[in-house]
């Protein structure tokens, strides 16, 4: 090192810190100084340079420069007293030199320093994750200690972590470039900033937790959504005690009231991490409570309801194969209102209210809507089979194919017009009857609705055949739809055949609902039952049609031979 380099080593620090006075004077109230906005902007650039210098000192394991720069940095604004992490809305911060509240620009600057310091701590942690030479490792332990000492309590650390992750997305601190500089060019890389920041936060918290301090943690949303990652990192810290315990300098007993001598470092470490895990779990529960409270108080977002409603109605309309087949044959009896003797088929579904509040991040509501409509489809088949006579002719002689031909012919002879063959889902039966569509090719026939051509299995003796899930697997029906059943329909939402209602609750309506439906209380206290309702939306789907039986002679069933039944 020549004399110039020696001089440069000092002057690169001294002349950089010459700008310190310009930054500090901006907040001193002096008339000839920079304005507060200018001081903040200059301070940001200055702090970034200090951060770069400290990072270089860490990389070069230059303890003297690191200590000098960090000390000078720390001395800046040492007249400002902060009761907590310098959030933008921090109250009661006090400027001792100037007197009075701390300006928002200065708070922004101090916040920036915290973020950059947290990033430096992350970088030291990152370096310590790799094996290091003894001397370098010792320096990194010291550097981490110096940086960690700037974070006075667990909440401060977690606030700094929050601010750092937010800054990573908005202010573009240099961390990504730090990682990239280590990696080879011309290859894709995963930049682990997010994971390293979390690990750093957990390490700093581990250093600060004590048996009764803090008693609990403020709720934070990432306690919930990063729960598994937190658990994994805590597990890793348990296993890597040898590496991290010396870094944090917490080899002594965790519980100082314990009389055990000498202190057991391993036990102290696990106690410390257990305590942190407990605190984080309590924070997570608090976050869940906050979330539930928010959902309970939030109003329903109609646009999100529509994301369920529209796909549900669309799907319900698309699924109505029997109704559309009957409509084609002119056998739908349209009513203005539900018949008075209609018991009404109603499906109730409870959905989390959190799906439907405007802040919800839940995706795939359209799938939920389609699932709701599926029950309407199965209802069509169920009502059809309930309306048909429960008798079936056994095959006395011959095969199913010829028996079915005879049955159709017999119905025609009796003056009926067979228009639909209903089968269970059974490929052997279909093959036996020569029905080869299998849903892959469209079936074209005058009695088949164009929109449902792929729902049919084929044509047998000029009669369309269809299979239904849930159909009795022991028989095949031949129906003259005009005579065999009666299909009544009344107005529905968007002609979908169903009416959908979404009901959310407030305290009063929840109490009223509970008195009408005491079964909801089952296993719950009154308060819990009310909370249950406040956190949910009741989705009611009413069918706006019904199928009733007609002339029993117009519906004839044939038993499927045992050898053709499914599962044989």
């Amino acid at each position: 090192m020549n004399h110039s380099e020696e001089l440069l080593l000092h002057q690169s620090v001294d002349h950089l810190f010459a700008a310190r006075w310009a930054v500090e004077s901006a907040f001193s109230g002096s008339s000839d100084a920079l304005t507060e906005d200018e001081g903040r902007d200059l301070g940001f650039s200055f702090f970034n340079a200090v951060n770069g210098l400290l990072k270089s000192a860490i990389d070069l394991a230059d303890e003297a420069t690191f200590a000098t720069v960090e000390r000078k940095w720390e001395a800046m604004f040492d007249e400002v007293w902060l009761p907590a992490f310098p959030h933008a809305d921090l109250a009661h911060a006090f400027n001792e030199r100037r007197g009075g509240e701390v300006q928002s620009e200065l708070l922004a600057l101090l916040r920036r320093r915290e973020i950059l310091r947290f990033g430096l701590a992350m970088w030291v942690v990152h370096l310590l994750e790799r094996p290091q030479p003894v001397e370098r490792s010792a320096f990194l332990h010291t550097a981490f200690g110096v940086l960690a000492s700037q974070f006075p309590n667990v909440e401060w650390v977690l606030d700094a972590y929050d601010a750092s992750t937010a800054a990573e997305e908005s202010d573009k601190p240099p961390w990504t470039m730090w990682f990239l500089a280590e990696l080879p060019d011309e290859a894709a890389h995963f930049i682990p900033t997010s994971e390293k920041l979390l690990l750093t936060a957990l390490l700093l918290c581990t250093r600060l937790v004590a048996p009764g301090e803090p008693s609990e943690l403020r709720p934070r949303d990432w306690f919930e959504w990063r729960h598994e990652e937190i658990q994994a990192l805590l597990g890793r810290l348990v296993q890597e005690r040898d590496r991290w315990q010396p870094v944090l300098g917490v080899a002594d007993a965790f519980d100082t009231t314990s009389t055990a001598t000498p202190p057991d470092p391993e036990r102290g470490w696990s106690q410390r991490l257990d305590r942190l895990a407990t605190l984080l779990a309590s924070g997570r529960e608090a976050q869940q409570d906050v979330e539930r409270e928010r959902v309970r108080n939030a109003s329903i977002d109609e646009t999100r309801l529509d994301e369920v409603r529209q796909p549900a109605l669309r799907s319900a309309a698309e699924y109505r194969v029997l109704r559309d087949t009957l409509a084609l044959q002119g056998n739908v009896n349209e009513l203005r209102e539900p018949p008075p003797d209609n018991a009404g088929l109603v499906a109730y579904n409870w959905a989390p209210k959190s799906f439907f509040v405007s802040e919800s991040g839940v995706l795939g509501l359209d799938m939920m809507g389609r699932d709701l409509a599926r029950s309407a489809r199965t209802a069509e088949a169920q009502q059809l089979f309930a309306a048909l006579p429960d008798v079936a002719s056994s095959l006395e002689q011959g095969d199913l194919r010829s028996a079915l031909s005879k049955t159709i012919e017999g119905m025609r002879t009796d003056g009926f017009h067979p228009s639909l063959i209903v089968l269970p889902i059974n490929w052997q039966v279909e093959r036996e009857l020569g029905l080869t569509a299998f849903g892959a090719t469209p079936v074209q026939h005058q009695t088949v609705p164009p929109s449902h051509q792929r729902d049919f299995c084929g044509i047998f003796e000029d009669v369309a055949a269809i299979d239904f899930a849930g159909a009795p697997d022991d028989r095949v029906w031949v129906l003259d739809l005009r005579e065999a059943i009666r299909f009544d329909e009344w107005p529905s939402d968007s002609d979908s055949g169903v009416r959908l209602e979404f009901r959310s609750f407030d305290e009063a309506s929840a109490a009223g609902f509970l008195s009408e439906h005491p079964e909801i209380r089952k296993g719950r206290t009154s308060e819990e039952a009310v909370r249950f309702l406040l956190e949910r939306v009741l989705i009611t789907m009413r069918l706006c049609w019904r199928i009733t039986g007609g002339n029993p002679r117009a519906a004839r069933a044939l038993e499927i031979p045992e050898e053709l039944r499914r599962g044989d």
Binding site: Q11, A19, E38
Partner: protein, 478 residues
């Protein structure tokens, strides 16, 4: 006669009516033709050049219209060159033709007037000779002062001292005396022409005295420094204007619906169209280009150059997919207006001036010449602090792409930061301790001053030199 009068009137009205009718039909046809053409060439303009430079200036002038006009006037004045001299010389000669008689003293008599003008002619000639000798002396003194290398030029020195102006007036004065003695002008060689020739000669003689005084003052160090600073400010102003116009042009072209795309190089499979000449792109006539693109839907035009870019000999001005005749290619190439590079203006001039300063600073750093480097450091500071002012003149904050222009984000600020680092490396390598202090002091000093000027963004690249300086210092310990 009495009966024919109404017929004549009817004939006249009928003729006028026919003319008006034809005019109306013609204008309607023209309007319909225009409309059809508009539909045919949409989104290209129906006619006209559609200057990219003008569109960019309009976009910029949304923030400062006055600046746009003063710049336009200044630009036209510079382009006049020798024409300016011809214009005011012609104006001086026109005066002798004014038909006004002056009968004061010797001007009333032809012989007295001739005698006086002959003597004056010789005096002015001699004075002019002295001026020319003074030019040589002053230029030599200026060159010898060593200031030229710091950014001053002879042309600038001549302009600042008004030397050229006085020589120009002196030449006109000699010619004017000759013309009047020859008898051209109203009542020449006496009367107003003689009076006017005497006045112009008098201005020349007074001017020679003024210029001598001014030359002596300009050779003073502080005056040279002021001149140099003025030049740097002008250079920065021109460079910033050029940069902003280029950036505004890119913005405008990107947001327009014209069927012309921009590219950094050959977009693939396209044929390059060689620019009309080597030099600097001063404008792009988008009207002909976009009309061509509309008429040739199977071809795609790509513009790989922006306003202010340099085009080398046989360099590409456009890229085109599809085949066109050589004549059309020449016409397309002509739409990209290229002017021979002028070393005295724009980004190029600023870059070259900075390069010269850097070369000299490197020499100073290696040789440990602190005062020489300090003088250059002041110029660096001047440039850095003039940049935000120049941007502010257009009402644009000096930050983001304005501070770090181009694909690689390198502008004068980044160049100077790089120069400072290189000079520091040179000083460290040469063990020039005297230079370490001034070089390490400058970035933070300029950063603070720039913040005061409302350009805090400038502080970031300058402060970022310090970690690099530290790493350089530590290099010796590694």
């Amino acid at each position: 006669m009495i009966e024919s009068a109404p017929n004549d009137s009817m004939d006249t009205h009928g003729w006028l009516y026919n003319v008006l009718l034809l005019a109306a039909i013609a204008s309607n046809l023209a309007a319909i033709g225009w409309l059809f053409r508009m539909l045919a060439v949409h989104p290209a303009p129906v006619a006209g050049r559609l200057s990219l430079r003008r569109q960019a200036l309009k976009l910029l002038s949304a923030s400062n219209r006055r600046k746009r006009w003063t710049d336009a006037i200044q630009r036209r004045r510079q382009r006049l060159g020798w024409t300016r001299f011809v214009i005011y010389a012609a104006a001086l000669f026109v005066v002798v033709l004014i038909p006004v008689d002056v009968r004061w003293g010797p001007l009333d008599d032809v012989e007295d007037s001739e005698e006086f003008l002959r003597t004056l002619w010789q005096v002015v000639g001699a004075a002019l000779g002295v001026s020319v000798a003074m030019v040589a002396f002053a230029f030599e003194a200026f060159r010898g002062s060593g200031q030229q290398a710091y950014g001053g030029s002879l042309r600038e020195f001549a302009g600042a001292s008004r030397l050229l102006l006085v020589i120009e007036i002196g030449l006109v004065s000699l010619l004017l005396d000759g013309v009047v003695l020859f008898g051209w002008g109203h009542n020449a060689p006496r009367g107003l022409p003689a009076a006017w020739a005497i006045i112009v000669s008098g201005i020349t003689l007074v001017g020679v005295g003024y210029v001598m005084h001014r030359v002596v003052r300009l050779l003073d160090d502080s005056a040279l420094r002021r001149m140099r600073e003025e030049r740097v400010r002008r250079l920065v102003d021109q460079a910033m204007t050029q940069q902003l116009v280029g950036q505004a042009a890119t913005l405008w072209l990107g947001s327009s619906s014209l069927p012309i795309r921009t590219s950094f190089g050959n977009p693939g499979g396209a044929t390059p169209i060689v620019a009309s000449r080597a030099g600097e792109v001063v404008d792009v006539r988008l009207g002909p280009l976009s009309r061509f693109a509309v008429r040739h839907p199977n071809s795609q035009l790509w513009l790989p150059v922006n306003l202010g870019d340099s085009v080398a000999e046989s360099g590409t001005g456009l890229y085109l997919t599809g085949q066109v005749s050589p004549r059309k290619r020449r016409r397309l190439a002509a739409a990209v207006r290229v002017r021979r590079a002028d070393d005295e203006s724009g980004n190029r001039a600023l870059t070259e001036a900075l390069e010269r300063l850097h070369q000299q600073a490197m020499g100073a750093a290696r040789g440990g010449r602190e005062n020489e480097w300090r003088a250059i450091g002041q110029l660096y500071e001047l440039v850095l602090l003039a940049l935000p002012k120049a941007a502010a003149a257009w009402g644009i904050p000096f930050a983001g792409a304005v501070m770090a222009p181009g694909f690689f984000g390198v502008g004068p600020v980044q160049r100077i930061a790089d120069f400072l680092y290189d000079e520091l490396v040179a000083a460290v390598n040469a063990n020039s301790r005297e230079l370490i202090g001034p070089i390490t002091y400058l970035p933070q000093h300029v950063a603070i001053e720039a913040t005061r000027l409302g350009a805090p963004a400038l502080a970031a690249p300058l402060f970022q030199l310090y970690p690099a300086m530290y790493a350089l210092a530590r290099r010796g310990r590694a």
